[in-house]
Amino acid sequence: MVSILFSVTSLFATPPIVIGMSCATSGHAQYLGKALSQGSSVYFDYVNRHGGIYGRPIQLIIKDDGYDPIRAVQNTVWFIQNNVDLLYGFVGTPTVTRVLPLLKLYQDRPLYLFFPFTGAQPQREPPYGQFVYNLRASYQQETMGLVDHFVKLNRKRIAVFYQLDAYGRSGWNGIRKGLEKYGLDIAAEATYKRGSSFEASYMSPAKIIAASQPDAVITIGAYEACAGFIRDARDIGLDVPIANISFVNSESLLKLVLDHSQKTEKDYTLNLINSQVVPHYEDSHYPAVKEYQELMSGLHDPLYGFVSFEGFLNAKLLVHILKKAGPDFDRKTIADAVQIIQNYDLGIHSPITFSRERRQGLDRVYYMTVYQERFVEIKDWSQWKK
């Protein structure tokens, strides 16, 4: 399925800047694709309404890959064949890691992928790092940050529950590396199959992990499986902090956990921690949040959350780069335009700098927990001190 964001572009006489986005808009990971593309689209629309980029409208072509690596590759081939100007906002580690060789294959065009929604390492490192620009912090940064906090809290036996694919492996590797710094090893690990539902049983991995008597558990997965794991882990009495990372889709996870809490009259939101790569989307002391909230409020069905806020920030940075590229923008000049970005603040008080070596805009990780059924930023970790 292809959806083309072109609502106001017909007003323009100049050719559009065509952006290809492959993400899940169907299947169990559809929220991620929908929220990310909505956050981006709301800003692209805003830019298009205000004259586009030097008169050229931004045309965002969204193709559904259902979080399936093979479909993601097929979509990318389609984008290449249809001569898009750049790839943008691909969602998922297993999908993006499969697409990366295509970028290398077409390096003569060249074809860059901007701000994929994954914190995996392959697009940050050789040989594919040179074809990708990231905004968000990596999973390694998220997981290592979590490990740092837990170790500081004297929670050294850290177990990991992860999705058995490139995404899960990326998070697993981050945790492993994080622990390695302290001479520690993963206390226990258990996997699940990508696409598993909340209704499935996670007793088996929960028991494997509980058997190791961990001090904390980090999950690297999608919201349904992670919520299911939290449910089953708590049900067998594992009450240690369980941390999820940004890709989990915090809002959906929280909704499942809250619904289950309501059904069973047991609080499953206790000791939940979520790392995020963007500030809280309701933290209005950030100018970008205000802008985001204002534009999103104009939508009929806004998907407020960390994901759509990240999409918004991605779009805002891309527009800034395109503007820097000047009116004669083409695929070859955009890399130079990215290098121009120095200490640029998107409105979240985190300056962004790109260079030939630095291809990731943000490094900061934000940690949230559930308070009164909402995610709030953690100000004090001492409650989890062991």
Binding site: A120, P122, L164, A166, R169, T191, Y192, P205
Partner: protein, 514 residues
């Protein structure tokens, strides 16, 4: 349909097909299973080896560059290949950096069984393992640059080969079952084709058994059509039956005609018998003359060639007695007998001498006697008053004189052969005198030639014994006992020849001094 199922033909054919198919299925199942399992196992080894080498080649840089995500991405792709149970990659330190197990790596693989035995591997090694959740697997360990970078382990699930073999066997069984059902269908059709005409023939024969054969049976035309339409054994059978029916109709018609003709003849013979009976004299009425006489004839057929007669001439106190036996039997003999009797009666009426009577009768019988028939004859003329008996034996067995004391005497033979042979025959007489103690017993050779059930002739000897035993009895009593003797001796069996006997008793006092 039920008839077909119950038919022995169907049951036997069905049994044969079941046995054939069972054998084919068993042989095919064993052959396919073994061949398929062996080939697929070999292919799995080959495939597993190729995958292990492929991952080994592509994972060098990924491991060196510490890029487990891409490695996992590659590993995940291989899991989609059928038969691959698991993929596991270790780094040089032996740490598992990528795998495909959910929810955890089995204990059996946390330490590699091959590496445990041999700390370093130069080349790819294959072993067999049993992994919980996967069953028996072909475990392949491939060193990455002689193990300096790490190792790739591939598990090929042999259980899936069994599943494949099972699915192939199920397909094979389905195909054989379909072929079996088709065969049964074909067999059904063939049996129907064979059984239907067989049933037709069977039904035909059942109806044929109660058919009257006056005309063709109702199913004749159907069977005739079958005999022409079926060119096989059934057609031949049908043809044989129609031929049989035709023959039976023909024979039965002949039989009916024969029976009818026989009935007609029997009817005519009955009339002839009545006529012959009429020719024989009626029982002797009471007469003033002093003599007793009784006679009977028992014919072996409806009509006979024996004759007896007596002619009483009261005014001359004479009685003529005749006993004869015509050659042959049946109607010709009866006609000859009738002719002889008539001729004798007519000649006796002329009161000629006995030799003259016989000469004339003989001459008449010889004339136009194309069939060369003849008659032996006793002709006697008895003077009742004196007891003098003049007789002539024309080729006839000598009668007995039975005395009351049991003494038997044969009458002397006289000159002259049987009548009807020699037209110039000459007949002489002999004379004797009978008294009251003597009974003249006349008989034909049928008496001595009658047979017992054991095929034994009665013979003159038995007759003599009988007469001696019953000597002194009056003629009627004597012949009554003789009838019983005949019945007893023959046990009711048909007579071989006509029997005629006559007993004559004179009342002339016996003047023989005692």
């Amino acid at each position: 349909m039920e008839k077909i199922i119950r038919s022995r033909l169907f049951q036997k054919t069905f049994l044969a097909i079941v046995i054939i198919f069972t054998c084919i299925t068993a042989i095919a199942a064993v052959f396919f299973s073994v061949t398929l399992y062996t080939n697929v196992l070999s292919e799995y080894r080959s495939k597993g080896t190729a995958i292990a080498k492929s991952i080994t080649d592509s994972s060098v840089e990924l491991i060196i560059n510490a890029n487990p995500e891409t490695l996992q991405s590659i590993v995940d792709q291989y899991l989609e290949i059928s038969g691959v149970a698991y993929v596991l990659v270790r780094n040089a330190n032996g740490e598992i950096i990528s795998h495909t197990f959910i929810p955890e790596i089995p204990l059996e693989l946390r330490q590699d069984p091959i590496l445990e035995k041999s700390k370093s591997l130069e080349s790819l090694q294959i072993t067999s393992l049993r992994i919980p959740g996967h069953g028996p697997v072909i475990h392949i360990t491939s060193p990455i640059i002689s193990g300096l970078v790490g190792y790739v382990h591939i598990g090929m699930e042999t259980r899936s080969i069994l599943v494949l073999v099972r699915s192939v066997l199920i397909k094979l069984f389905v195909i054989i079952a379909v072929v079996f059902l088709v065969s049964i269908g074909i067999m059904w059709t063939i049996i129907m084709k064979i059984a239907a005409p067989l049933n037709q023939v069977t039904q035909y024969t059942r109806r044929l058994s109660v058919h009257d054969f006056e005309s063709h049976s109702p199913d004749y035309e159907d069977l005739e059509r079958l005999s022409t339409s079926s060119k096989d054994e059934i057609g031949s059978l049908a043809m044989a039956f129609t031929h049989l029916e035709n023959q039976l109709i023909h024979y039965i018609q002949n039989l009916k005609e024969t029976i009818s003709a026989k009935e007609k003849i029997e009817k005519e013979l009955a009339i002839a018998r009545d006529i012959q009976k009429g020719i024989l004299p009626k029982p002797l009425e009471k007469t003033k003359m002093a003599f007793e006489l009784d006679a009977f004839v028992q014919t072996s057929k409806e009509v006979g060639g024996d004759l007896y007669d007596y002619i009483v001439k009261e005014e001359k106190e004479k009685v003529y007695v005749i006993v004869g036996d015509v050659s042959g039997k049946g109607v010709p003999a009866a006609l000859f007998m009738a002719m002889t009797t008539t001729l004798l009666r007519s000649r006796i009426a002329e009161e000629e001498s006995l030799p003259e009577i016989l000469r004339k009768v003989n001459a008449l019988l010889c004339a136009n006697n194309d069939n060369c028939m003849f008659v032996t004859l006793f002709l006697g003329e008895m003077d009742v008053k004196s007891g003098e008996l003049v007789y002539c034996l024309a080729g006839h067995p000598s009668p007995f004189i039975v005395r009351s004391d049991g003494h038997l005497a044969e009458l002397p033979i006289t000159q002259g052969i049987a009548l009807g042979i020699d037209p110039d025959g000459v007949y002489a007489t002999h004379t004797l005198t009978l008294n009251s103690s003597e009974t003249l017993f006349l008989f034909t050779d049928g008496m001595t030639d009658m047979k017992s059930p054991n095929d034994e002739f009665y013979s003159v000897t038995n007759l003599r014994h009988f007469l001696q035993k019953n000597a002194g009895k009056a003629p009627m009593a004597l012949l009554g006992c003789l009838k019983e003797e005949i019945e007893q001796y023959t046990q009711g069996n048909p007579l071989y020849d006509d029997i005629t006997v006559m007993a004559v008793h004179s009342s002339v006092p016996d003047n023989t001094p005692t």
